[in-house]
Symmetry: C3
Subunit: 306 residues, 3 copies
C-alpha cells in the first residue's frame, strides 16, 4: 500500500488508513535496530529543501536529520539569506528550487495556506512544516505515533489539549486527526484562546483545567508564546500559570497512567511545572525522538521510493 | 582536453574552445539520464567552500547542489557568522579556509576584483560567483548553455540585453562571451544605466526598447535592483516599467522564435510582465536548471578530477 | 588504548597519556596519505551537532570538516535560528538534540562552565569548543600538535603567551596542558590582562615583552579583541601595539628556531606585524590545518568507534 498523494499539507483530508500507513512506515525505520535509527540508502541522490520563512530549531533539524538518515542531500534556506528580501514571490522562489531538481520541499511559512498554494504551483512534493495558525501535520503525526507507542488505543481515548488552542497549528492538526481516529478531544483554556466552532469537530471546550483533566489518558500542553505577549490574550503570565499551568497535583486528576505531551520548546514554570516535564509521565523527549522517524516515513512515502 | 586554469574568475580571458569545453562538460552530466542529473562520485572526498559576502539564494544553492551531486563535501559560510566581523582581511580568511584543505573556494563579494585578489593568494581553485559590478562568469555560462540548448547558433545571433547594464556583472560577463562567440550584442536602457566604452567590445547601445528588440533571437532582461533605488538612476519604477518593461506586445517585435531570459529573481510587472515570464518563450526556469549542470561542469574541470 | 571519557570539556583533568593519545590519533589521520587528509568511513551513520551560541567561522568550520571527513552527518545550529530566542534553557535545547540521536554535541557558549553543565545532563558526548573565559581545549590540543610536529619536545620547552591572558580561554587551556607536559610557561602582558593566581600553575608573569621573549622556543600571540574594547583594558590600540605587538625585531630575541603561533583571526599591525605573520617562523596556517586532524582524532576517540 502506498500514500497516493504528492504532498502532505494537512491532516484534515487524510483517511485513517493513510495515517496508519505513515505511522507504520515510521515504525519500520525504528525497527531495524530497535531504538536506534540506522542510516539507510533509500533516498540516495534525492534532494530535500528546507524552505523556512520562520525560525525553528526543532522542526528544521528534525527534517534535516530525517533526510540525512535516508541518505538524501539536504539544502537549508531561510528568508534572511534568500532572494525574498529582493521581493520575489513565494511561488517564484519555489519554482526556482524546483528547477534545481528539489524532489521534496519542506515549507514553514507565517501565512495559513502557503503550503497549499505552493503545492499547486510546483511538481515537487511539498510538506507543510507549519503554516501560520493553520496546520502542522508532521507534529500531530509524531504525537499520534508517541501515543500509539505507549500502547494506547485511539478509539475512545480521552485527550486534553491545554492552552492557546486558537493560535496553535499543532492543536488544529491534532484535533482533526484525533477526532477522525475516534478519540474524545477536550480543549482547555481561557475564552480568548479558544477557537470558534470546534464543537462541530466533536471537541468539547473546558474553561477549568481541573475539570477538563478528569480521567484523561493524554494531556497535551501547548506552549504559551511568551514572545507574542503583545497580543495580550491573558493579563499576566503568573496568572496564566496559576490557572492553566500543569503541576504534579493536577496530573493526579487524570487517569493514573496518563501521559504528558508538549510540542516544545517548553516554558518551565509557566505552562508546565519542571517536576512534570521531567517526570515519568512525560513523553516530551520521546516526541522529539519519534519526530525523526515519522518524518523519515513521510519523506520516504512521498518520494515514491517505496 | 582539459581546462588549463586553476580558477574561473572572468569570461574575458577565456577562449572559444574553453567556453565550449565547459558547456560540453555540463552536457555530459545532463546526458547520463536525460533530463535528470544523477549523483556521481567524481568529487568524493573533495571539499568545496561557499564563501558568500553577499546574500544569494539562487547562486549559493545552485553551487551547493552542484557540489553535492558530484559527492563533494560542501561548507557554507557567510560573513555574519564569520570572523569577518572581527576585522580579519579577506585574504587571511581565505588562507584559513585553504589551510583546512578546501579544494575549491566559491566567492561572492561586493568588491570588483575580490576573486582575482583571492586567487593570487591561495592555492585552492577560486570560482568567481559575482564580484561587485565586475563579472559573474558562471551565470553567463549558464545563459550560453541555455541558448545553445535551444538550438541557436552564436555566430551572428542577435542578443538584446535590457536594463541596468552599467551595474550588472551578469551583463558584463555575457557581453564578453557573446562578442567572442560572434553574436551581435545590443544594450538597451536609459543613458544612466549604460556603461562607458562598450562600443569597443562591439556592442551597440539603444535608448528605445522597441527599436532594440527588432529581430533579435534572444532577449536578456536584467533585474531592476529595487533595493538599491536610493541611487536614483530612474525617476520612478512605474516610468521604468512603461519604457523598459518587457510585455507580450513587445516580444512580438523580436524574431518569432525568440527566447526570453532573466537571471532572477524577477520583479513581476516591473522589468518583465507576468504573462511574458510564464510564457512559452521564457526560458527562465531552464536557466536555473542548467545552472546546476554548468556549475557541476566547472567544479569538475577545475578540480582536476578529469 | 582508548580515551575513557564521555566528554572533552577541559584540559585540566587530562593525563599526559590522554593528551598523547589524542595527538597520536590525529597523526594517524594525517599519515594515511602524507599531508592530505582522506575521507574515511569511521563515523558513518553517526551524527555530530555543532551547537554554537557565539559566532565562529574557524572553529565551527574546522569541526564540520573534521566530522565530514569521518563521514558523519553534521547539523549546525546557532542561537539566532533556534528556540533559544523562545526562552528555552540550554539543557532543554540539548536534551532535544540528544533525543534526535546526536552522538556528539560540540558546544560553544559565552558562559564558563556551560559545557560541563551540559555534559552532566545528556548522554551524548560533549566537546567544549569554548566556554566564556574558561577553556578551549581543542584549540590548545592543536597548538600542542603543531609544536610537536615541529620536532620540539615539551619537557623544558620555553613558551611565551602574549596578550590578554586573563580573558583568553585559549591561554587557560594551554597553560594547563603545557605545565603538565613539563614546559616553562611565561605570560606576558599589561597587569590588566593578567589573571590572578597563575603562579600556582607554575607560570611566570612578565610585564615587558622583550624580557619575556628572551630565549623562548614558542611565541603564542593572543588576539586583541578589538570588538570588546569597550572594556578598556588598555588606553589605545596603538599604544598596545607598540608595547606588546610582535615585530620581526622582537622575534630575534627568542631562540633562533622559535616558532610564532596565533589562534586567529589575526589583527595585522596590532598584536602581530604582517612580516611576522607571513614569515617562515609563523606556523599560524599549520595550526589551522592541524585543527581538522586533531578534531578528527577527538571525534573518533569520543565516538567509541575505535
Amino acid at each position: 500500500m502506498s500514500l497516493k498523494r504528492k504532498d502532505l499539507l494537512s491532516l484534515a483530508p487524510l483517511s485513517v488508513e493513510e495515517i496508519t500507513l505513515i505511522l507504520d512506515t515510521a515504525d519500520s525505520f525504528k525497527e531495524v535496530t530497535g531504538r536506534e535509527i540506522k542510516k539507510v540508502p533509500a533516498l540516495r541522490g534525492r534532494t530535500v529543501v528546507n524552505l523556512f520563512f520562520e525560525p525553528s530549531t526543532r522542526t528544521r533539524t528534525s527534517f534535516e536529520l530525517a533526510a540525512k538518515r535516508l541518505s538524501a542531500d539536504v539544502i537549508n534556506f531561510s528568508p534572511s539569506s534568500s532572494s525574498v528580501v529582493k521581493g520575489e514571490t513565494l511561488l517564484d522562489t519555489a519554482r526556482n528550487i524546483e528547477a534545481m531538481q528539489a524532489d521534496i520541499i519542506v515549507l514553514r511559512h507565517p501565512s495559513a495556506g502557503a503550503a497549499e498554494a505552493l503545492a499547486r504551483g510546483v511538481k515537487s512534493s511539498v510538506i507543510n512544516a507549519g503554516d501560520g495558525w493553520h496546520e502542522h501535520p508532521t507534529q500531530a503525526l509524531l504525537d499520534l505515533y508517541t501515543i500509539r507507542q505507549r500502547g494506547l488505543s485511539f478509539e475512545g481515548l480521552k485527550v486534553a489539549i491545554v492552552g492557546d488552542v486558537a493560535h496553535s497549528r499543532v492543536a488544529r492538526s491534532n484535533i482533526y486527526a484525533l477526532s477522525k481516529l475516534g478519540a474524545e478531544v477536550r480543549l482547555i483554556g481561557p475564552p480568548t484562546m479558544m477557537p470558534w466552532g470546534v464543537e462541530r469537530l466533536g471537541a468539547r471546550v473546558y474553561r477549568n483545567l481541573d475539570e477538563g483533566l478528569a480521567g484523561v489518558q493524554v494531556i497535551m500542553m501547548l506552549r504559551l508564546q511568551l514572545e507574542r505577549q503583545g497580543r495580550a490574550l491573558f493579563p499576566t503570565i503568573r496568572e496564566y500559570a496559576r490557572l492553566f499551568g500543569l503541576t504534579g497535583e493536577r496530573v493526579k486528576l487524570a487517569d493514573p497512567g496518563a501521559i504528558v505531551m508538549h510540542p516544545g520548546p517548553i516554558n518551565r514554570g509557566v505552562e508546565i511545572a519542571p517536576e512534570v516535564a521531567d517526570s515519568l509521565s512525560s513523553v516530551i523527549l520521546d516526541q522529539v525522538a519519534n519526530g525523526v522517524a515519522v518524518r523519515m516515513g513521510i519523506l520516504y512515502l512521498l518520494s515514491g521510493a517505496n
